[in-house]
């Protein structure tokens, strides 16, 4: 009984994802089951939202990724008739649906121009969408011209997560392939989530286009001539500085240098969004000790966490403890991928 109850609750939560206009699927690392989840979403659409049109693409697939989820085989996506697909010319022959070509987009990936088609039958597709996250908006606009109500689904690359800011919500995929030690998986996941879900800055962001600003009652731009951001920022760190805004990546080495400054304490640090904070746990702890509060300009909405229990050999690893701990720590829905939808297509 308990299992069934849990299942219904899960399905309701996943169904909520269909309230968004666009959704991205972020993977914390290789083989975290993004494609498997995409398949589950497709299935759910068929049973619960038969009228809703899915528009599927991916971003920045660089070829290195080999989605080994189940039994060591790469999953393809089985889509229903009527689905819109944006994939590269070079992969069209690997899409076995009947294709109605809607548009050649002028957007390119490593595998050729991205083509938008409507599938006139059910079947398998392989997807490689735009290389640059900036192109996702253009692509979405083209899709909206064809189908204004479509749910735009973006399967994201593992290396960069910044694309997730281009969609209304992002689900986070994690799993046993991140680390052999599941405690480490838990730590990595919690930490990533901590960065992704950083709160919106209470102070309005600076208006200009500079890379760095300091806040002293109002934002003051920092002129950064060379790549050495610290040379410019260091001297500006007076006691009266209340906060810092950094447009690009907030890296470990940058924060390391900031920490050498005595004045770098009791202030807030604003990044563009959660994906720009490339900081390990240790570093965030050090920031906390200095009473540095992290904020973002554009908060990301992460409605749920998904756990892939299959290792590279296709072995299903028990993940109950992991999911329970994640749930407790995040107060977010955490689902194991196998519980969702069907399996056996791989």
């Amino acid at each position: 009984m308990a299992i069934l109850k849990n299942f219904i609750w899960q399905e309701t939560k996943v169904k909520d994802l269909f309230n968004y206009a666009s959704l991205s699927i972020m993977g914390l690392g290789k083989n975290t089951g993004k494609t498997m989840f995409l398949n589950a979403l497709v299935d759910l659409k068929e049973t619960s939202f038969p009228e809703r049109i899915l528009a599927i693409t991916s971003i920045g697939r660089d070829g290195e990724e080999k989605d080994v989820v189940t039994k060591g085989k790469k999953p393809r996506i089985y889509i229903p008739e009527g689905t819109l697909v944006a994939t590269s010319k070079g992969l069209l022959s690997r899409c076995d649906v009947t294709k109605e070509i809607l548009k050649t987009t002028g957007i390119y990936s490593a595998m050729g121009e991205v083509v938008l088609f409507r599938s006139l039958s059910d079947g398998y597709v392989e997807i490689a969408g735009p290389s640059r996250s900036g192109d996702l908006k253009t692509l979405e606009q083209m899709i909206r011209q064809v189908s204004p109500e479509a749910l735009f689904l973006v399967d994201g690359a593992l290396s960069r997560m910044s694309f997730s800011t281009e969609t209304e919500a992002s689900v986070l995929c994690t799993g046993v392939n991140l680390h052999k030690d599941l405690v480490k998986v838990q730590e990595k996941t919690l930490h990533a989530l901590y960065c992704l879900k950083l709160p919106k800055s209470p102070v309005d962001s600076p208006k200009g286009n500079h890379r760095v600003y300091v806040h002293q009652g109002h934002w003051k731009e920092v002129e950064v001539k060379e790549a050495h951001l610290m040379d410019a920022l260091g001297p500006m760190l007076e006691d009266s500085v209340e906060g810092i805004y950094i447009r690009g990546a907030v890296t470990e080495s940058l924060v390391d240098k900031l920490l050498t400054k005595k004045n770098f304490r009791d202030l807030f640090l604003v990044g563009k969004d959660g994906t720009k904070f490339l900081l390990g746990e240790e570093m965030t702890l050090r920031l906390k000790r200095r009473n540095i509060t992290l904020f973002v300009e554009n908060p990301l909405y992460v409605p749920m966490i998904l756990v892939n229990p299959y290792d590279l050999q296709g072995l299903k690893v028990p993940v109950d403890t992991l999911t329970k701990r994640l749930e407790e720590e995040t107060k977010m829905p955490v689902f194991v991928l196998d519980d969702l939808g069907r399996s056996g297509d791989y």
Binding site: E46, P80, E81, K89, L92, D96, T98, K99, E100, I101, L102, T104, V115, R118, L120, S121, D122, G123, R342, S343, G344, D345
Partner: protein, 474 residues
Amino acid sequence: MRREPYGFPYVMELICTVSPMGKAYKRRLMPYQNEKALQEELRKTKAFSDHLRMVEKEKEEVRHLLSDMKDLQGLMQMLLRGETLSVVDLYEVKLFARQLRQMAKPLQQLNLEEKPLHSLEGVELLLDPEKEDLATFYIYEVYDDRLKNLREEKRALETAIRKAVDGSKRTQLLLERRSLVVKEEEQEEEIRERLSKALVPFVEKMQENLTLLGRLDFFIGKAEVARNYQLPLPKVSSSGPLSMVEGIHPYFEKILAEKNQKLTPITLSLVPGSTAITGANMGGKSMSLKTLFLNATLVMKGILPFAKEMSMPLIEHLYLLDEDQEEMKKGLSSFGGEVLKIQEMLGSLTLKPSLIIMDEPARGTNPLEGSAIVGGLLNYFKGRPHFFLVATHYDLKNMSGISRYQVRGLQDASLEDMKGHGEKEKMERVKELQSLMDYRLEKWDGEPILGDAIRISEFLGFSGDLIKEIRNLL
């Protein structure tokens, strides 16, 4: 030796092209060889630029369609080689034919005196067999009953797959589907082959259309520039001077406008033979030469000149020889390099008129020989059909039979009034000087006007003692 005038790329950028065909046409633009054809092209450009404001909406419509078009040259080559187009390629061909049809009406309203585009109705019939008039394409079932039956069978199977709850049953059905997919692909390929063959007879028309569209794109662009800058119709006639009234150099005009300065228009008329411009330093001689060179080049390429009026014969070659920074970097002696270039240029001349412009030739050698070289060049071109224009500081007073211009320079300005302003920044002084300079050219046959160079040196800061020594030598 410049073959492409300074500022030519800027003008090419002003001329907006929106399609890959238009951009290619622009890149390959050649000077006209035939007087009648050139006159006709210029006349049409002017006429359309005057007509533009009446058809603004239609022009934008045509341009919008052009901007969506792709260059199908590659696909046309594939068809000619007997290759089979992919479903995306066929989509591109269908879209092209459709865009052409949509363009027909606004294009007609533009009232261009251009060769009409070929209608591609036959292509549309092939690729839109059910006359749905959609901007999409797939391998339609009507192409072949076998395909229709196959897809129906496959669809039934897919429905069964959806309903299959049992995993192994589902796998079985998926395997069945797999074999149907292979058959469907074979069928589709056969149809694509058929369609590709059927498209071959249209290739010539489509290729011609691509060329015409490129020209159309460029033509609209240059007529728009002609309207925006209110450019005149130049007169091209075989016997006549090469003259430019109030010509400007649009690139320098832009640069000066950014500094809140105004460009002085240049008026100049050359007859076959030799013409010399003399006058003060900083008097804009180089600018005058560049302006004439640019405008003459534009006219030869069928583009209206940046001037109030312009007339010229058909010109075979256009050359401008000036101090070439690149050559100097290469370490060639500037004089040696110059001699070689002049030699090369002379070798290319025929009996048809060419325009040869030289900015202070032989400036790097001793003045006695330098002035003999310039004088010799002027005399050499005196009786020839070419337009030879030279700017020089050398003394030409003993020469006859050449036209001469003088930069007005500082003659009317009173520098002494300005000197009282005391210690100013050097660049401020240069600017002040520029504001006093009269850049206009005037016909002039008398003694060279001396003294501007010394007045300028004094104004820019030479000491009184030094100026005195200099004046003693004059």
